[in-house]
Symmetry: C2
Subunit: 495 residues, 2 copies
């Protein structure tokens, strides 16, 4: 006699429940939940005047700013599906995603479009800027009061290290269950403020937007990551939770120096790949409340997180799956034993239903009983703590032995002179593939190849030791700051 498959429009309900609480803080502007709802409703009416209808798919190419949050909510009020576009992409990549997703309209702003002449040319008839939208007239439109759990809320394209990017389908249910699982892990304090300096077009940022309205806590939003500014906020206690990736932690710690954070700062969620152990140890020493996480666009934010009580004893682990999610390790089609490496499979109501119009990828990446094969390699210890080892696509197979680049990289990174390293497999007549190390040395420091080679020989089986050492000034990275191992491979002649 009730509809458990629906949840209230989260912004609308939040604006009714706690209208006067702060919802968003950006530069010198602040909006309460009531104001955020009212502005989102105004935007919805302007969009409706422009011809946008319920069910339309709408591309959004925007940087982090107050009106981006307003717009994203307004699209939900209208019942549109939002295609979130990475502003670091090139025209052709954007055009692919807009066409592939069958977006009806593209919303962006003038300053971003300057760099996208081609996109402008192609989408001229279906393009609207925030600047134009603000000036539009309004047409009243009924807002969506209930979200169906199965309804598509957002599409985000995965960075696509191989082949064309795929549109990850994220339902309202995916976002809700992700927020619920995280809530049971992180708790919720009345004075919580979530600092968002990660892009709203990535799941890391978008999930903060969702949690803000569900939890009733403000987002402190930043357009760019500025370690000085963010340290100032965390030292003053004006934010209690922050989502970061490894590179940000390094910059924050460096800038922080001998100072320390406010006691109210209770959670630094680190996602987006492996975190070097030395970095985690430094955080521990400085009393920084680090929560290492594992997640991806397909899991609507983190699916595993290391609980505070284990942050010392399980250093380097991504923790256990969140309350509603499951993780298993599969090795040669069977469940792996404890401490045995294998592919990470994930399941849960936060996991995507699949990729947009990619039945091939869906068949390939999902099991019949609903597990998503992540392609990542990891293991679980006896107590069920997850450790991420590597991306499967980076696996090097040499003379029948599996080599996980991360294992080698971790060893090389223990040398104080090494700033960055990537180990990739290159083809070899004798062994099929052999590992080769590309490394970047810290400024003003010197290190001999022989020293690094010795280091590896001391800690690793012989077949894992890189066969060649190639020094670089920097490593090639994609828009999401992931190292492009593919490019490294290409740039090397077979040994």
């Amino acid at each position: 006699m009730n509809e458990p498959n629906q949840i209230p429009n989260w912004l609308m309900k939040r604006a009714y429940l706690t209208p006067d609480r702060p919802a968003i803080i950006f530069r010198n502007e602040r909006l309460t939940f009531r104001q955020l709802f009212e502005r989102a409703k105004t935007f919805a009416e302007k969009l409706h005047y422009t011809g946008v209808q319920k069910g339309d798919r709408v591309g959004v190419l925007l940087n982090n700013q107050l009106d981006t949050v307003v717009l994203l909510h307004s699209l939900q009020l209208l019942g549109c599906q939002t295609v979130l576009l990475n502003i670091r992409l090139q025209d052709e990549e954007l055009l692919f995603q807009l066409e592939d997703s069958e977006a009806m309209i593209l919303i962006s702003n003038e300053s971003l479009l300057i760099e996208h002449r081609k996109l402008q040319d192609v989408w001229i008839d279906r393009l609207i800027t925030l600047e134009q939208l603000r000036k539009r007239a309004q047409r009243s439109v009924p807002v969506v009061e209930q979200f169906s759990m199965d309804e598509l809320c957002t599409i985000m394209y995965t960075s696509g290290t191989t082949g064309h990017p795929k549109g990850v389908l994220q339902t309202y249910g995916n976002h809700w269950w992700s927020a619920a699982g995280s809530l049971l892990n992180l708790g919720l304090h009345e004075q919580d403020v979530w600092l968002c300096a990660v892009p709203l077009f990535h799941i890391s940022g978008f999930s903060i937007l969702v949690r803000s309205v569900l939890y009733g806590i403000p987002i402190r939003l930043y357009e760019k990551f500025d370690e000085k500014q963010i340290n100032r906020v965390l030292i003053s206690g004006k934010a209690t939770i922050i989502s970061v990736v490894t590179a940000m932690v390094q910059r924050l710690l460096h800038e922080l120096g001998d100072r320390s954070y406010h006691p109210n700062f209770r959670c630094m969620l680190i996602g987006g790949g492996k975190v070097p152990l030395p970095l985690l140890k430094t955080c521990k020493e400085k009393g920084i409340p680090v929560f290492q996480t594992y997640g991806m666009t397909e899991t609507a934010s983190q699916i595993a997180t290391l609980s505070p009580e284990h942050s010392l004893t399980k250093l380097g682990s991504a923790g256990k799956p969140l309350f509603f999610s499951e993780i298993k390790i599969i090795k040669e089609r069977k469940w792996a034993n404890s401490n045995e490496f294998g592919e990470i499979y994930v399941k849960g109501p936060n996991v995507t239903k699949g990729y947009w119009k990619r039945e091939d990828a869906n068949r390939e990446n999902f099991t019949e009983d609903g597990w998503l094969k992540t392609g990542d390699i990891g293991y679980m210890d006896e107590e069920g703590f997850l450790y991420i080892i590597d991306r499967r696509t980076d696996l090097i197979i040499s003379g029948g032995e599996n080599i996980y680049p991360a294992e080698i990289e971790q060893v090389i990174l223990t040398h104080p002179a090494v700033k960055e390293v990537a180990v990739v497999g290159i083809s070899d007549k004798q062994w099929g593939e052999v590992p080769v190390a590309f490394y970047v040395v810290k400024e003003g420091v010197h290190v001999e190849e022989k020293t690094l080679d010795d280091l590896c020989r001391t800690h690793l089986a012989k077949y894992k030791v890189p066969k060649r050492w190639i020094r670089k000034d920097e490593l090639p990275k994609n828009a999401s700051n992931k190292i492009l191992r593919r490019l490294l491979k290409k740039g090397t002649d077979p040994a």
Copy 2:
């Protein structure tokens, strides 16, 4: 590709996620979540040995103690449906509920059964005591790893002021959504401890059991409500949340005297009926973090709660509906305006699907679009805050005017000599019904009828002033401590 209609077995998942956190504290005993799970599993295997099967309906007649919590979880591990019986009931009432619910077996303990000879006689073949169970052998049995949201978890009978008691069906989904809605309202701190001195057989206590495993926080359980003991705990900071009813608050405050509670004590959830304004004011003065709530067995615990930020400005309100729930006021079949009295309708995934085998009551109490008619009278102010006025069944209709006893009682209670009062309607030739006041005076104090009559005349329209004043030494109450207005009516000759 996932099953959003299932959630993990909450105890099992919790024991996996945070095995070493405390789960329950009772007298000198403590169990971690791992220990609680292991003991519940042992009990499940003993029950299985005894012949209890998945899907069986099991009656439980137990007071608050450690093994009651263990047993209730073991029944969930087995996939049984639990009929929770009120230990204050008489044999015939218990027999009715056991038969009506078609329970296969009854679990109780020796000390309780002493007072229930007749129950023992009738159920001798289907009765097992905790004492016997502990000594039983075990038979291994697969535990239920996933709960379906639609699956029946518990049945609780409503006190039934009119007609036979009705079994309220509570699904796993009802309990989960109740816990989720409350979580978004109350937040969750790592050091939270929920004090439970309310019966586990009522939704007030059972909901704490569910929240403990979902939230990962311990229950501090008490067999009886002892204000001295509980004040000691709240002063020391060993509990952060407590669920109480009005009468308990009065006793706590009286015993507390000039002392004050620990700053970690952050939430006193007051449910189970109206709370007198003077009591709320005293709490405010003493800095007690009061959350007034509205809820019932049918809503699997509170469905509305007054948020902390409004506790001062909206004194006396039960707050707003929780995140996933809705409340509306219906007057003469239409939505009431703000501040207009009417019947309270509720809806949401926490609301029962209906009464066990009572199609008549289901038809009568639910609308076609899934609203439950609570029978309670209230109003919502302009901002959507709910105020509970009365139970509809107590409505007095006099000369075509609606009279809400609570309104009159509230006035009478402002007199310092009055301890308790109940206003009921008795039949009257001229007006149909007239209000009559039954009142109890505080010990050692005296008050004239004339004084009370004048008080009412000063504050109330003439037709609302009680036509008779009947002084009593005490007012008749049922097992749930509700005043039995019916009995008061019966004891009075028509005026």
